[in-house]
Symmetry: C2
């Protein structure tokens, strides 16, 4: 018997049939002898409906009222799912964020969880009942309703699992696990039985969005075993672990992530002197623009070239700021490009293997794909290329690193579902 926290997203709760299906999955886990606590999002479309209502009244609503409004979406879900579980002969009881004693700070729209008093939930489980908890919400010290920011239901699931010291936190979604690459781009992509938290963080933040980055960080911090799996398809999903065991036997590259949501800005011929990097990036950050990759070329003639990427939405604003900076610094010219794509190899195995980067560059070169920028970290190599080469590049790399084939050990019994 294990203690499992199951989290179901909005697409798993799209309508009454879906809710009954989720209830069936919850009851199945109970029938297998497990204790189960459930965390749910709002029904699909409900949060958007409420946001539209708010927006039609006030452009910038009070964050406190906005949180009070949006939190009703999950409150509807917990009540309906409890009814559906009760209807199958098992006893379920609903908990709003506040009732589950999820204490947060007072940033109403982007609150962070400070503490969870798990007493009430533990009593439910001990009594043989199934607590169903509203994701995405909590309350602050004043008893005000707060929300964790969009997608925060994953974080609630992990936090509840941590508070209950659950054996596993299962995140049910509309994909059946973490893949070596987005299957819409690479048809040969295959599901990973297991990834490390670090790989998951890189894959999640690089566009292979299965889980909210914050939820993964949270799981890592509290060492909550996390499993991503599909609500609608059978299967064991992908287990996310902290262990790096068998690193030598694992493939060096676990997956390939990509995104096309960035834009590139370059300033050429900047005087190469101390402090120049901060005089370029400083004003950009001050304008609340997040900078992702930063590359500075080796200096020649006491001049240097400086390139960085920002989110595509911030491109025009960043170009304007860079224009001012260029004048101040006496730079030669400012260049911009918002038709780029970023490709990344991710894998813990890279740490102990040289040659990954050179294989990557050779593969792209063979396809005639020019590399515009390169950055590396311990478990990742990222390159920026022309947007039009995104699909070609991802598929070529997927083949080159042997990700197309099924791994020899297809099913690891240790990884089977709890």
């Amino acid at each position: 018997m294990a203690l499992i926290v199951q989290k179901y997203g909005g697409s798993s709760l799209a309508d009454v049939d879906c809710i009954n299906h989720v209830a069936e999955k919850v009851v199945t886990a109970r029938k297998q002898g497990h204790q189960v606590a459930v965390v749910v999002s709002a029904m699909h479309g409900e949060t958007d409906r409420l946001m539209t209502l708010a927006k039609s009244i006030q452009e910038q609503p009070s964050p406190r009222e906005y949180a009070t409004l949006l939190s009703t979406g999950e409150q509807v879900s917990i009540a309906l799912l409890c009814m559906a579980i009760n209807n199958k002969g098992y006893e379920a009881r609903s908990f709003t964020g506040g009732q589950a004693r999820i204490l947060t700070d007072s940033r109403y729209k982007k609150a962070r969880i400070l503490d969870i008093d798990a007493d009430a939930l533990e009593k439910e489980l001990a009594a043989g009942r199934i607590p169903v908890i509203a994701g995405f919400q909590g309350k602050d010290v004043n008893g005000d309703i707060t929300t964790l920011g969009r997608g925060g239901s994953d974080t609630t699931g992990v936090a509840i699992a941590a508070a209950l010291k659950a054996d596993e936190c299962q995140i049910y979604t509309d994909v059946d696990g973490v893949y070596t690459a987005d299957p819409r781009v690479v048809p040969q992509a295959r599901r990973l039985n297991k990834v490390t938290f670090e790989e998951m963080l890189e894959l999640a933040s690089l566009g292979a969005k299965v889980l909210q980055t914050r939820a993964v960080e949270f799981a890592g911090k509290y060492e909550v075993p996390l499993r991503v799996l599909s609500t609608f398809a059978e299967g064991d999903g992908t287990l996310i672990t902290f262990e790096e065991n068998n690193a030598m036997e694992q493939p060096m590259v676990s997956g390939i992530a990509f995104n096309r949501s960035e834009a590139k800005l370059t300033i050429l011929g900047v005087p190469d002197k101390p402090g120049v990097a901060s005089s370029i990036i400083g004003p950009v950050s001050a304008a609340n623009i997040d900078v992702d990759m930063i590359v500075q070329n080796v200096a020649a003639d006491e001049k240097t070239d400086f390139t960085f990427t920002v989110h595509r939405d911030d491109y025009h604003k960043a170009m304007e700021i860079l224009g001012h900076i260029s004048n101040e610094l006496g730079a030669r010219v400012v260049l911009g490009d918002n038709k780029i794509a970023k490709l990344s190899l991710v894998g813990v195995g890279m740490r102990s293997h040289a040659g990954i980067a050179s294989t990557m560059f050779k593969t792209l070169g063979k396809e005639g794909i020019n590399i515009q920028m390169i950055t590396t970290s311990e478990i990742k190599v990222s390159v920026v290329v022309d947007e039009k080469y995104l699909e070609l590049g991802v598929r070529a790399l997927h083949s080159a690193f042997g990700l197309d084939a099924e791994p020899s050990e297809e099913f690891d019994p240790q990884l089977s579902r709890v």
Copy 2:
């Protein structure tokens, strides 16, 4: 400067335009220098939507989950109305029932208010803010969400007014006051500037439904001056008072109430002995059927006839029970009629005037309307007639008691809005 509690029902909050209109009314009262607290129902249609969702999952949902589900309707309203008020430059803050510290018992679907700790709301008012409170809901000692039963938002309004010691509780609805009779039946019906609580109770419980009976009782108990007025039309509405001043100058009959929601059951030839009434009504009550009028005729030949009315929905069930009773008691025959109407004259003035009943009977007789049952109380005379005479009877009585004419004193400055 007065402290006013305003309560707005679902039809006043049908859509975004309505919500903005309500915000305008709230702000107007503030501009007149008053302190204002607001109580709201769910947006029109929302409670039905949620009830349908629940019913599509489980026929008899857990009352606890049902209350959690339905309470979201009012929670949406408080957030949206706060946004609309904020948008007009006034500061409003929302309170769920729990946040407003409305403590109830644990009968989740029909909870009764035990206590309201008004500290938080008083602080809001003292700070110049407008608290907007979810009607129809509270929390029990365990922190569980409860609902007061359908229409309970009126009760919340009165209870909040009592807790805040408000100068007036204004119930905004889609009618502009209490009328001498339902204007849809009696076109000459006129709005009463003022009625007593007792008259209001009779009028409300007899189908002239403007206010929830429980809310009126609550207002009487805590001596909260209550005013019924329209959200959409200007006017002073109807003030509901406890004073019976000027009773001599007031018309004897304040209004005429009626309903066609009852059915009549008669058992003929019952042995006339002690305990026979309870052996008839007892089993009916035990089946959770509410009995309204009861009439027992004078006994002849040691036999008596016994007639009572029940809600029309309970008619067939009650007839079946009465069949069994009839066999046990050796009664002659059981008769039933679910095509009846009940007409009632209501007025505090009746207490000091004889002849009201005889005028009533003469008026109905002149129209050829046969009276099937009669009951009287201190401020009411009710008769049961064939349903087809309802409209004719009400109009004839309305004329006969001088209710068609405008009263000589059309506007009493004492009754003008605070």
